[in-house]
Amino acid sequence: MPADMSADARARGARHLDLDHRGRDWYVDRAVSVLVFGGGISAILFIIGIFVFITREGVGFIFSTMDVREFFGSQAWRPTSERNPTYGILALMAGTASVTGLAMLVSVPFSLGAAIFISEFATGKLRETLKVLVEMLAAIPSVVWGFIGLSIMNPLIIDIFDVPVGLNALNAGIILGLMAAPIMTTIAEDALKAVPDTYREAAEAMGATRWQVIFKVVIPASKNGLMAAILLGVGRGFGETMAVLMASGHSINIPTSPFDSVRALTATIAAELGDTAVGSDHYQVLFTLGILLFAVTFVINLTADLVVRGVRRG
């Protein structure tokens, strides 16, 4: 038996000495690394794909029908008019802006507050529970949020504020605020957690109280991350479709008060795309809105990324 083993070992040794030997494992390894690289760049391919395909469908409108001044400057969105269709998105942009703005008024203070509580005050079980709850909030589907706006918030707003219609910018803003809050809370909490404990300890050693540590040390040190959290929350609110469609009232309007019904860019696409003929001006202009939405969210995400990167460098 010892003789066998040494022969075996010799054979193995010989194979190892042959440094150019490329067995099956080597080729499998190569194949996998190529395959996995393909998966790795898939996200880039899909982003390019999204851009290419929505541009392909929408570009016809941009170069033939679009009148830039009317498009951005007019509030007359009458794409289905028989004789003189007009494509002014000013009111739609105002709708999106008002709803997103109200949503941020709701969600920014509360989610930053919640993030500070979870990261700096809560401990142990309480903290785990709160984190899980926040995560569950983020999971509620947007169509359910829309339904909540429609069936629960609507009568509530009519009762409380004594207004005739409860489907308005305020309703959509609150719904959107509650939707954006969990994401902002999670990202903001990550940013606060990323501040090294040595900072806190140093401040406490100087005699600072807990809230002094939070306001003078932790928040300044994590402000880029908090900014990114707010930006991503804005992006979420801006791009939300179903909830806004169902809760905002969906009427073309430049709002003068939170109780005005509005219509958002995203909701317009969702509501009208089904009724358009493929290739018509109306169909194309909806894709043009898609290009606009894509571009704005792209810029928001890029900015958030640069802001966070700033934190790492500094």
Binding site: V36, A139, F147
Partner: protein, 291 residues
């Protein structure tokens, strides 16, 4: 243990700290309590509707009454096909990012693309699905087109969670394996994946819950308002829970008031149950972790 006598300043500081603690706790609760109340209302109004019959019959009387069976089955079809499409790509991408990717511009661009893919509005994904899968690839409005649209949209969920669980495997495990002469792939297959498979599963469950709830991306790519029969293949259209909720609560007049509550409750129950499973699984794993 001796304590210093509290000065007036100490007392003030303690009061201020208590004040801030309470304030921030209130802010946290303001986010959570209304949602809990809303869920309570959904359960209160929706649970009387839910019965075995509700889950197993098709909608009747122009969708104003009856059950949700075709929508329920349709959602399962859509989610399954979307998973088949996105999980392999997502895992491959995560393996690349965690095990192969050097720290260079390409990796940064990939990460940026993933963030963007997650941040692009769902309706833009719908436009993409319509242009790419329905029209260009010629799938028509079908389960396949809807699922592929959702697969692209939820890809970041799989990638991010898989990458995290791959990176949670200590680097020393890999080094030990390489030192034994294993190739990169052998190390990944024998050491990294077995040690992170449960973490990956958590991410997949999370993706299921995301996919099941989405509405906008499937509206124009494969989900139908009303179909009294079940899909036979991936090239058929289908009803879906999320779109069904939208349709009966906004598009159909004269729906029994409790019906949409029932649909909303089933949908949110599905999604939250899966989320809770995923979270529970993660907590369990963290407790079991050997390193």
């Amino acid at each position: 243990m001796t304590r210093f006598a509290s000065t007036e300043l100490d007392e003030r500081n303690r009061r201020v700290e208590w004040l801030f603690r309470t304030l921030f706790l209130m802010m946290t609760l303001i986010l959570i309590v209304p949602v809990a109340l809303i869920l309570g209302v959904l359960i209160y109004k929706g649970s009387p509707v839910i019965s075995w019959e509700f889950l197993t019959t098709i909608p009747r009387d122009g969708m104003t009454a009856g059950g949700i069976m075709p929508a329920f089955v349709g959602t399962i079809w859509i989610v399954t096909v979307a998973l088949i499409a996105s999980v392999p790509v997502g895992i491959a991408s995560a393996i690349y990012l965690s095990e192969y990717a050097p720290d260079n511009w390409l990796t940064r661009v990939i990460n940026l693309a993933i963030i963007n893919l997650a941040g692009v509005p769902s309706i833009v994904h719908a436009l993409f699905g319509l242009g790419a899968f329905v029209t260009f690839a010629g799938f028509g409005t079908s389960i396949l087109a809807a699922s592929l649209t959702l697969a692209v949209m939820t890809l970041p969920v799989v990638i991010v969670s898989t990458r995290e669980s791959l990176q949670a495997v200590p680097y020393a495990f890999r080094e030990a394996c390489w030192n034994m002469g294993a190739t990169r792939w052998q190390t990944i297959r024998r050491i990294v994946l077995p040690n992170s498979v449960s973490g990956i599963l958590t991410g997949v469950i999370l993706e299921v819950s995301r996919t099941a709830g989405e509405t906008a991306p499937i509206m124009f790519t494969g989900a139908a308002f009303f179909l009294p029969f079940l899909p036979q293949s991936v090239f058929d259209q289908t009803m879906a829970m999320s779109l069904h909720l939208f349709v009966i609560s906004t598009q159909v007049p004269g729906v029994d008031e409790a019906l949409p509550y029932g649909v909303a409750l089933v949908l949110i129950g599905m999604v939250l149950a899966m989320n809770a499973t995923s979270i529970g699984f993660r907590v369990y794993l963290r407790g079991k972790k050997k390193w």
